[in-house]
Amino acid sequence: MPNYLPHTAEQDAAMLSFLGLERLEDLFAHLPAAVRLAGGLPIPAGRSELDVLDGLAALADRNVAAGLTCFAGVGAYDHDIPPVVRALASRSEFVTAYTPYQPEVAQGVLQALFEYQTLVARLSGLPVANASLYDGAASLVEALNLAASTTGRQGVLLSRGVHPHWRAAARTFAAGTGHQIEEVPLVGGVTAWPMGARDDLAAVVVGYPNYLGYLEDVAIARAVADESGALLVVAGDPVAAALVRSAGSWGADVFVGEGQALGTALSFGGPYLGLFAVREELVRRLPGRIVGETADTAGRRAFVTTLRAREQDIRRERATSNVCTNQTLMAVTAAIQLGWLGTDGLHEMALRCASGAHELAERVTQIPGVQAASEAPFVREFALRLGRPVEPVLAAMARRGILGGVAARALDPGDGTRGEGDDVLIVTVTERHRARDLDAYVAALGEAVAS
């Protein structure tokens, strides 16, 4: 049994006697006998934390993927996180604090969130961001709820270029909200939007870049939305954002995105960071928390969570979002990581990703049988058609130390479709890849498709 309890046996006895009790179990005497657990929990006995740590380290060693050179992306990116970011973000004041309910002793987290909001707003090209949501998928779900409550409508045109898992989550939650989600297929790697005004449309959602890595013409999506008076939701990527037009400049009403790339490790998919920003007019509909600047009684600058009237503890059943706990630590981390990168570092990093991706795309498409899935422009990821099932190819590459990408059909959108086809492989390059990694990739893929 671990030693995290500070009570000595004498103290237990003294406290019990203060309460007029004899044994610890007397504390539960008022529980109905039928629900009292007899015989203890059916789980193993405790072990020392060092033994547990060893056991989990042994499990971790069995994750072969951790040792591969990672060309997989699609919303989960293998970027460098420098020691200084890890050191700062792991300070226990950030890690072991609760939600900043007492602003007088929470200026640290509050100010960091204010800075994060500023950075997300700048990335999105929209004026206001919230203090984080669970992940990109959750941001999409909240965006649909926001669009529905703003427009009083339920229809959603959702591009199949949006991450399949996000679409799946949107569909899951639509079972409760009643949103009518229509998915719009990709043709040649970009969305083939239907034309024509509708009176039920709350939102049009486009991925930019889309999950295959391609840059779509967002102006069309904007036009589709305008035609029907719907909001335009752009699902973007914060690294690509350094190089491509911002969601705001395309006229987006809402920006959603996955912020993991900003200082959070791959982590097998979580905890990640849902980015969310809106036009100023929508600010009072923002889901989640938002930090605002104000002053204390002495006039000193101070930060505080604000617009709490929106919050679930006040609105209860009239709320349009139930988000309470969010991803504050990842948001703080993102602000630190962006602070480390800086204006030029972010740009340079994105440029390196793109340069490597373009070089790799050129080289692998020279392998016989390997084709680009689309001629559309891309930033740091792109899709290949291998003309054969992708999984055996990935397995062969893994044996050569390379995680070769993500098989499109492994990303189950949950709608019965299996993505863009069995032979589609999505490949991502980051600033961590060196020339020799690209060489190894080309060789491994060439060998795998030749066999």
Binding site: F18, L19, A45, D80, T99, N145, L215, R300
Partner: protein
């Protein structure tokens, strides 16, 4: 010129000034980033991104030196209270000590550097970890299976309600209402609404428990289920849980357990044995995964046999010698972008494995012991809202104090900051007037409880002697009471808004 990155006057150690924002510290041309040598030839942006897509301006974020970034963030951290500094008796939040061991688990390269889309054959360690955690959580709650996807408690609630909905739908049963006690946490009704159900509120009795008669009166065959926290949000065990379960099940409804308060009953009682069908847990409370200043959390949902087929998928499962993914037959679908907040899940498993069955039972015993001791000790100055044995937290009321002195629960809370303690939750649950909800947790020592009680006693005495001083609190903190109304009136949510508002 930009602000000085090396001046520490905002660190409470040496000053009481405000910390410049990172944008005030920013100076174009300054940079901390060091990117690796890749040997890959850089390409011109124009050669890669066609004009319509290309940014025509530089995306300006912030320009800092590493040294100034470190100073800034370190000083911000010095302006932040945390469990590691002292007690955090925040009711409903279970701010217990978070063992540092779990930080090392979360930092293991073999866990942290795994891409979530990597094939199952390459991630057997993670899959085993998740399956093991699911088994433990089922053992602890007395349920049949669990999904680990929900990213927090509220996400778990909504997932659970969608499971409830899918269950009824599958039986061709279009039910419409979900019952919730008036003491419930705000996320409960919000989740119900988002799940497409309507909320029917059930009043509490004067004893702070669900009013059984009122409950019965609200039941009907359009009731999909009831959401309960047990112990409830006033810290009391719903002793009528058996009749409640019988009543709700009697009309074909399901029982949902909001497990935010699971800490109180670990190893003592199990939701499954009480008749609950769906249970969400807040791993960031009960299982000591640190709260991160607001998150991340993890809100797994465990269910009884009849709901297993509806669970979100894909689910990690044991398969022969190894592990794989499986979509449940009638799955409601994904509720997370990947597999849930995996590193939080790993921390929780580490906590469970160190404690084991006996350790978890001891956790509950001491959480309850601490809360009852405090309740009893404070009776003279801040009486409990309900004068009976509580579980892991006690709700006390400052109503009498307010009447006698004008000092309110909020003033008491702010004064406690000056005494070197985080404040309890105030004005929640809504059914208690001038509520202070105190959850000491099991990791605070009896000595700390005494000190906390003494601090509250001093504050109450001061309220009588010198109420102005109590109203003026906190004075020891980096900032005094904050103008919340102004923040809401004129939203200044970013540096750029601050500039537009003339604040920079």
């Amino acid at each position: 010129m930009s602000a000085a990155g090396g001046r520490a006057a905002s660190a409470p150690l040496v000053g009481r000034e405000s910390e410049p924002t990172m944008f005030e510290l920013s100076s174009p041309g300054r940079s901390a980033a060091q990117l690796r040598e890749t040997g890959i030839a850089p390409r011109a942006l124009e050669a890669m991104i066609p004009a319509p897509h290309r940014r025509d301006d530089r995306l300006v974020t912030v320009d800092l030196a590493e040294r100034d970034l470190v100073g800034h963030v370190t000083r911000l951290s010095a302006r932040q209270y945390s469990v590691d500094l002292g007690a955090y008796p925040l009711g409903s939040c279970t701010m217990k000590y978070n063992p540092k061991m779990a930080d090392e688990v979360a930092a293991l390269a073999g866990l942290a550097h795994v891409h979530p889309a990597a094939d199952a054959s390459l991630t057997q360690g993670w899959l085993e970890l998740l399956v093991t955690l699911e088994e433990r959580l089922c053992g602890i709650t007395g349920m049949a299976a669990a999904t680990l996807q929900p990213a927090a408690g509220a996400a778990g609630e909504l997932t659970g309600l969608l499971l409830m909905r899918a269950y009824h739908r599958a039986r061709g049963d279009a039910r419409r209402r979900v019952l919730i006690p008036d003491s419930a946490h705000g996320t409960n009704p919000a989740s119900v609404t988002l799940s497409g159900y309507q909320v029917t509120t059930v009043p509490s009795t004067e004893r702070g428990l669900v009013d059984l008669e009122a409950l019965a009166a609200r039941l009907g065959d359009d009731v999909a289920g009831i959401m309960l926290t047990n112990p409830n949000t006033v810290g009391l065990f719903e002793e009528d849980i058996e009749p409640i379960a019988e009543l709700v099940h009697g009309v074909g409804g399901l029982l949902y357990y909001d497990g935010a308060n699971l800490n109180a009953i670990l190893g003592q009682a199990r939701p499954g044995d009480m008749g609950f069908d769906i249970v969400h847990m807040n791993l960031h409370k009960t299982f000591a995964t640190p709260h991160g200043g607001g998150g991340p959390g993890a809100g797994p949902v465990a269910v009884g046999e009849s709901l297993v087929d509806f669970l979100p998928g894909p689910r990690p499962v044991r398969r022969g010698d190894g592990y794989g993914w499986e979509a449940p037959a009638r799955s409601i679908g994904r509720v997370h972008g990947w597999h849930g907040n995996a590193l939080v899940l790993a921390r929780a498993l580490a906590y469970i494995e160190t404690h084991g069955a006996e350790g978890l039972a001891a956790v509950a015993e001491h959480a309850v012991l601490n809360a009852n001791w405090l309740r009893r000790r404070l009776a003279a100055v801040l009486p409990a809202a309900f004068d009976r044995p509580c579980m892991h937290e006690c709700v006390v009321t400052a109503t009498a104090l307010k009447e006698a002195t004008g000092v309110r629960a909020l003033d008491v809370a702010k004064s406690l900051l000056d005494e070197g303690f985080h404040a309890p939750t105030v004005y929640f649950p809504l059914i208690v007037d001038e509520a202070l909800m105190i959850e000491p947790t099991e990791t605070e020592s009896p000595e700390t409880l005494v000190a906390l009680a003494e601090a509250l006693e001093r504050i109450v005495a001061r309220a009588h002697d010198d109420p102005e001083r109590v109203h003026a609190a906190p004075l020891a903190t980096p900032v005094g009471r904050v103008d919340e109304a102004r923040a809401a009136r004129t939203l200044v949510a970013t540096e750029d808004m601050a500039a537009r508002a003339g604040l920079r």
